[in-house]
């Protein structure tokens, strides 16, 4: 079971956090700090898997964003890497060439997509079509709002 998922930027700013195990806020902060530091210190060509405490960390960088998941010992690292990728695909499809700013300004939507894809730390629906269908319904409810982000740098992540 996935224990938690963190999205953070190259500067170490947290963009999204989803915890599937009950932890205290203090603990969450400590874990986030430690992991962000560890992952950012790693070089591009290095292995995407880490052993950290008694968990396995799987991370992948997309443009300026790091996606980082913690899984348990018996879980499969490679499939977790693909979970990350599928999530990015979903975000990409939803936002249309997703970039970090989409996620910053519409983080609640990124959460909705995540909840439709992973539930309680397990892959809920792996069919892309079905996830998108479920998100479409939210689309109809959500305000269609195009943000003006001015001159902020914007880099597509996929």
């Amino acid at each position: 079971m996935m224990q938690f998922m963190l999205l953070f930027s190259r500067q170490g700013k947290l963009r999204l956090q989803k915890w599937y195990v009950p932890l205290s806020d203090k603990e969450k902060k400590k874990i986030t700090r430690e992991l962000v530091q560890t992952v950012l210190a790693r070089k591009p060509k290095m292995c995407s898997f880490l052993e950290w405490r008694d968990l396995k960390i799987v991370y992948k960088r997309y443009a300026s964003l790091y996606f980082c998941c913690a899984i348990e010992d018996q879980d499969n690292e490679l499939i977790t890497l693909e979970i990350i990728h599928r999530y990015v695909e979903l975000l990409d499809k939803y936002f249309g060439s997703v970039c970090e700013l989409d996620i910053i300004f519409n983080f609640e939507k990124a959460y909705f997509i995540l909840d439709e894809f992973l539930l309680g730390g397990e892959a809920q629906e792996t069919s892309k079509k079905n996830v998108l269908k479920a998100i479409e319904q939210a689309d109809l409810l959500q305000e269609s709002q195009i943000e003006d982000w001015g001159s902020l740098p914007n880099e597509e992540i996929l």
């Binding site: 806020d25 070089k43 898997f49 693909e82």
Partner: protein, 1131 residues
């Protein structure tokens, strides 16, 4: 699904109409978040950010509290609060408003409310109770989106105690026409199963229904539950193996809708989930494994594409193949797969390849040999993760020949690694290897010095403890002991003369102890000189007071001669006024003992004298005091864990069954003379109760569950045929075994395929030959290990093992026990060529397993006929048809009963439980209680049409002594006949439940030898017999016994005389003898077979039964109390 959208569409106009001016409100609201985010990006310092956010939160706080805030505004506020919380600023004031928003908002706002709740709270948060009603309401809503939202939040968190309130509604959703609802409902049930398994126990048949759902998504979701349940009890779900195999076959065969493809691989998530389930089911079970070989082979074959996702499947496949009962050609393919991983240029695959190698190397060392050059390269890999994993692999193949090289590599890594977790783990491994394989004293002491310097104060405390034990207890040769100790003394003196300030505290403690004990061995050394060195440690600023007390203890042992005494006096003067009471005490001791050498010699005899002091850990000398206090009305003592439990129970309504206290032996603990201060204080802390020790820990031990030793000298154990085949193919040379030959040119004969043109290549070759020494340069027979157990240098005396375990009070239990086992496995494999009985991993009680299994099949039978998964419908309708256990078992038991030997017929016996079955044989067993012994009766039923030859049955147990009764068991078994074997069992050491494991091998006329493994669990209570004693005898015995336990039991209060009624239940169920009942007190006696008495004193107190058990046998009281609890619970 499209219906959902339709519904939403119809709901939309009403939503919009609620909002008076949609455009403007929205714009301003989102821009507030936008401006906040923009504001933050413009800031330059953390301090400014903090100020900004605090201001923001203050304004949010004001607005959420205002009664004029609309839900729409509230939604926007929540989003901003979520953002602030993500930045790490606490906003607990908003939690209640998030719940309110989920409760009162429109669909749109509700969604944000639920999201905020799921991000802010966790399942133990008390506010979550307020959400229950909202969830209840939304689950009953006609709007599908609301139902979805409620199920989503429930699958993430829900208060455990409130599950019953919503369970029926969630269950109902399993029948919902929309698959998305069904899927979410299944996941909600999965969550419930995880947090409170017993609350969903009654709906296991519903899980089966979900498994048979026509939508693959719902079916996939149900596998999460099955994986969990099978992990806990693989025996109960063996009947589903066929179904899982069929599903996997269809998935692999591309029978699922294209939607489920991921990068043109069919449903990889589903495949991996199924593979994990299959590996659990096939573990240690040849007949179940048999069913899955074909599909595994196909999975391997199909996963050919070069994409991450296929590698993920391959990796899982390989793990599965190595976990289940082995099959040679699959193993070969899996090995090739591992090879591809290891050799891959992709670093992620290489890493997993190394991991897989680590996983299988114990069974198959030749795989490591094949890849030795890659392993060497990985050892110098710039990525520490790869390096670390390589060391893990090397750790598994360490033996006496390569230990120095491997340890050196590990220490090299430790010097550059900065991660504490890594350091702790690796330091422990180095210490273990050093102790096990050290080639000489010098190396050992120096390695341990490095371990102590690097491991410092983070390492597990049992490392220095066991090192000191090793030194003090010594080995078989006195001379060797002396040399080792002398070497340690020399080494430490020179360290202290250097820069002791840099050494970690733990190391200083070790040094002080060793110098205190053994510096006299160094003849040219004056004790005054040592004292001066030690005194220097006291003056160091960073010495902790614990270290200082070790130093004082050492000084006390050393002070003699005028020079020494004057140093001691000086030091003790300084510290006798210390603010630290412990130090002051030590200083006083030093002062007095240094003045009175006679007394000193008496208190601290030097060297040689190693008498053990029996510590009365049950503190029985205080019994008088305790009983007086109790008589005066004091409350009986409850150990802390019990108090906590009761407190917890008092607070909330617990719907969980009581957790039973684990009986662990700590009650008798003997400690050697002249122990170090911490050891003593630790053990006294232990004496009272010890239950909480065992729960933690074990995390550092090797995780190799699922790895069974299946390799022997001739290849796969218990599978002789395949090896013969491969031998024929390969034209064996007379000297080498076929195994050896394969890697002959790459490793054995050190003439590598790569021509060593470059110097560095040569270096690598050299390293390889030294690393893989024990594995490659020996005669073929020793390939799997060494022909005789490694001449372990520091073979401890037998007693030390027990004591060290009792003393090491580390939170993380010492990894050595497990590791030893695993390593010995590798070593022993060459000695015992016979297949050895690797006991199946703790199977749960057979009877219960069968029980649940039966009810379930019955349920599915009645409710589920005809609703087989759509997946299976076309080609395998029978896949989900469970074998009808019940129908077959009942009549069989009756007729088996008639085979019970005549002399046992009149005696009490347990129900006949099936042990294992395959096409030709079925084994069952029961135990019969004789007055003076316990007999295990095994029924071997030949249910095939042919006679079975050369039946051989072995029964063994770790906890019991097993001896065969009567004539040797049958060799030949006629068709459809039953043979009976009897074994007399006696308990070696008391455990709550004891287990025997066994194996039967036999030959059918056509097929070669086959094997079946089984295990049988029986409660300790079947070994309990009444002990007839008089009250006087009881009194004398009571005082003589030292192991005791106290606990409160439930009183059966519905009778007139609760005490008598309760004791009667115990008498009937556990065969205890009631000696006497006087008023509110009763005394009871029993004995474990072979005269191990246990006495019980019961007293009614405040509505419970306070019992106090005593026995000369450690653990017996703990185990007995467990059975008493059980007996009264079941009543």
């Amino acid at each position: 699904m499209s219906d959902v959208v339709e519904k939403t569409l119809t709901a939309l106009p009403s939503l919009l109409s609620l909002d008076s001016q949609p455009g403007s409100a929205k714009l301003s609201s989102t821009s507030k978040l936008g401006s906040l985010i923009r504001g933050i990006t413009e800031l330059t310092s953390k301090h400014e950010e903090e100020k900004l956010i605090q201001r923001e939160l203050l304004s949010i706080k004001e607005q959420v509290a205002s009664p004029n805030t609309t839900m729409r505004q509230m939604k926007e506020l929540m989003v901003r609060t979520i953002y602030c919380e993500m930045l790490g600023y606490e906003a607990s004031f908003s939690y209640i408003h998030a719940i309110k928003l989920a409760q009162q908002g429109s669909v749109l706002e509700k969604r944000v409310g639920y999201l905020a709740v799921s991000l802010f709270l966790n399942e133990s948060h008390e506010l979550l109770l307020l959400l229950v009603n909202t969830v209840l309401k939304d689950l009953q809503s006609t709007n599908l989106i609301e139902v979805c939202m409620a199920l989503t939040v429930v699958s993430q968190m829900f208060p455990k105690d409130m599950i019953p309130a919503i369970l029926p509604l969630v269950e109902e959703k399993l029948n919902h026409p929309k698959e998305i609802i069904r899927r979410k409902a299944v996941l909600a049930l999965y969550k419930f199963y995880l947090i409170a398994p017993n609350q969903v126990q009654h709906i296991h048949n519903k899980f089966r229904k979900a498994l048979c759902d026509k939508d693959p998504g719902v079916m996939t979701a149900s596998l999460h539950i099955y994986l969990q349940m099978i992990q806990e009890n693989p025996e109960g779900y063996k009947d589903l193996t066929g179904s899982f195999v069929t599903i996997l076959k269809q998935v692999v065969g591309g029978k699922l809708p294209m939607d489920f493809n991921y990068h043109s691989v069919p449903a990889p998530w589903l495949q991996i989930q199924l593979l994990r389930i299959l590996s659990l089911l096939g573990k240690n079970d040849p007949s179940t494994s048999e069913i899955m070989y074909e599909v595994l082979d196909e999975s391997l074959r199909r996963a050919g594409m070069n994409h991450n996702i296929t590698y993920a499947i391959l990796y899982e496949c390989v793990k599965c193949i190595y976990t289940i009962h082995p099959k040679s050609d699959l193993l070969e393919k899996a090995a090739k797969c591992i090879g591809n991983f290891v050799l891959s240029p992709k670093i992620n695959l290489k890493y997993l390849g190394l991991k897989a190698l680590t996983y299988v190397v114990q069974q198959d060392p030749k795989l490591a040999l094949q890849h030795q050059m890659t392993i060497i390269e990985c050892l110098d890999h710039p990525d520490l993760i790869i390096k670390r994993e390589t060391l893990e692999l090397l750790f598994r193949i360490t033996n006496a020949q390569n230990v120095t090289v491997i340890v050196e590599k590990m220490l090299e890594f430790l010097r550059i690694s900065k991660d504490d977790h890594n350091t702790i783990d690796l330091v422990g491994k180095v210490a273990e290897l050093a102790e096990k394989y050290a080639p000489d004293n010098e190396w050992f002491i120096e390695t341990m010095n490095t371990v102590f310097s690097i491991g410092g104060d983070v390492m597990q405390p049992d490392i220095p403890n066991s090192f000191l034990k090793l030194l003090s207890e010594g080995f078989d040769s006195v001379e060797e002991d002396r040399k080792l100790r002398l070497f340690a003394v020399n080494s430490y003196i020179s360290l202290l003369q250097g820069e002791p300030g840099k050494l970690p505290q733990r190391f200083l403690q070790v040094i002080s102890w060793v110098l205190g004990e053994y510096s006299y061995l160094k003849e040219d050394l004056e004790s005054a000189a040592v004292l001066r060195l030690l005194a220097k440690l006291l003056d160091m600023k960073n010495s902790s007071s614990e270290t200082k007390s070790w130093v004082f203890m050492a000084m006390t042992k050393l002070c003699e001669g005028t020079a020494g005494v004057s140093v001691a006096q000086e030091v003790s003067e300084t510290y006798s006024s210390s603010m630290d009471t412990v130090l002051r005490q030590r200083a006083q001791e030093l002062e007095h003992l240094s003045q009175d050498s006679e007394l000193c010699a008496k208190v601290l005899p030097r060297g040689g004298d190693r008498e053990h002091v029996e510590v009365d850990s049950s503190l029985s000398f205080l019994d008088g005091f305790v009983s007086e206090a109790l008589a005066a009305g004091a409350a009986p003592y409850k150990p802390p864990h019990q108090r906590q439990e009761e407190l917890a129970q008092a607070k909330v309504l617990s719907l969980e069954p009581y957790s039973l206290s684990l009986p662990i032996s700590m009650s008798s603990c003997s400690i050697t003379d002249r122990q170090s201060p911490t050891l003593l204080s630790m053990s006294s802390g232990l004496s009272g109760d010890s239950t909480d020790l065992s729960h933690k820990g074990g995390s550092t031990t090797l995780k190799l569950d699922g790895v069974k030793r299946v390799w022997g000298r001739e290849g796969y154990l218990s599978q002789k045929e395949p090896v013969e085949e491969s031998a024929q193919v390969e034209v064996p040379s007379p000297v080498r075994s076929p195994n050896q030959q394969e890697e002959g040119d790459s490793s054995h004969s050190q003439t590598p395929t790569v021509t060593p043109t470059l110097g560095c290549e040569q270096e690598k070759q050299q390293l390889a030959s030294s690393l893989f020494l024990g594995l490659s340069t020996q005669s073929p027979v020793c390939l799997m290990g060494k022909s005789e157990p490694a001449p372990q240098r520091f073979r401890r005396k037998a007693k030390s093992l027990n004591t060290s375990e009792q003393i090491s009070n580390s939170l993380i239990s010492s990894p050595s026990a497990v590791d030893n086992l695993l390593c010995n496995n590798l070593l022993d494999s060459s000695i015992t060529s016979e297949p050895d009985l690797s006991p199946p991993e703790r199977t749960t009680e057979l009877t219960t397993a069968n029980g649940t299994c039966n009810t379930e099949t019955a349920l599915t039978d009645s409710g589920m006929k005809g609703s087989n998964p759509a997946l299976n419908r076309d080609n395998s309708v029978d896949a989900t048809d469970p074998p009808s256990h019940e129908d077959m078992d009942r009549p069989k038991n009756v007729c088996l009963m008639s085979h019970l030997p005549a002399e046992l017929c009149g005696l009490a016996h347990s129900e006949i439980t099936p042990l294992c079955t395959n096409q030709s044989l079925s084994l069952s067993a029961c135990h019969v209680q004789k007055e003076d012994s316990l007999v295990l009766v095994v029924f071997i039923n030949n249910c095939s049409d042919s006679d079975i030859q050369q039946t051989r049955i072995q029964v063994d147990s770790e906890d019991l002594e097993v001896s065969c009764v009567g004539d040797s068991p049958v060799e030949e078994l006629r068709s459809l006949s039953v043979a009976v074997c009897q074994y007399s069992l006696t308990v070696k050491r008391p455990l709550v439940n004891v287990e025997v494991v066994g194996m039967i091998s036999y030959q059918l006329p056509v097929v070669t030898t086959q094997e079946l493994q089984f295990s049988y669990k029986l409660p300790l209570s079947s070994f309990i017999r009444p002990l007839m004693v008089s009250t006087e005898e009881y009194g004398t015995m009571w005082l003589a016994f030292s192991n005791d336990t106290k606990q409160n039991l439930t009183l059966i209060s519905d009778e007139q005389e609760p005490l008598a009624a309760t004791l009667n239940v115990l008498r009937k169920k556990l065969q205890l003898h009631i000696v006497e009942i006087i008023g509110m007190e009763g005394i009871v006696a029993c004995s474990l077979l072979q005269d191990q008495p246990c006495l019980m004193h019961c007293r009614v107190h405040a509505g419970t039964l306070a019992v106090w058990l005593r026995s000369p046998t450690p653990d017996l009281p703990d185990c007995l109390i467990y059975h008493c609890q059980r007996a009264l619970q079941c009543h």
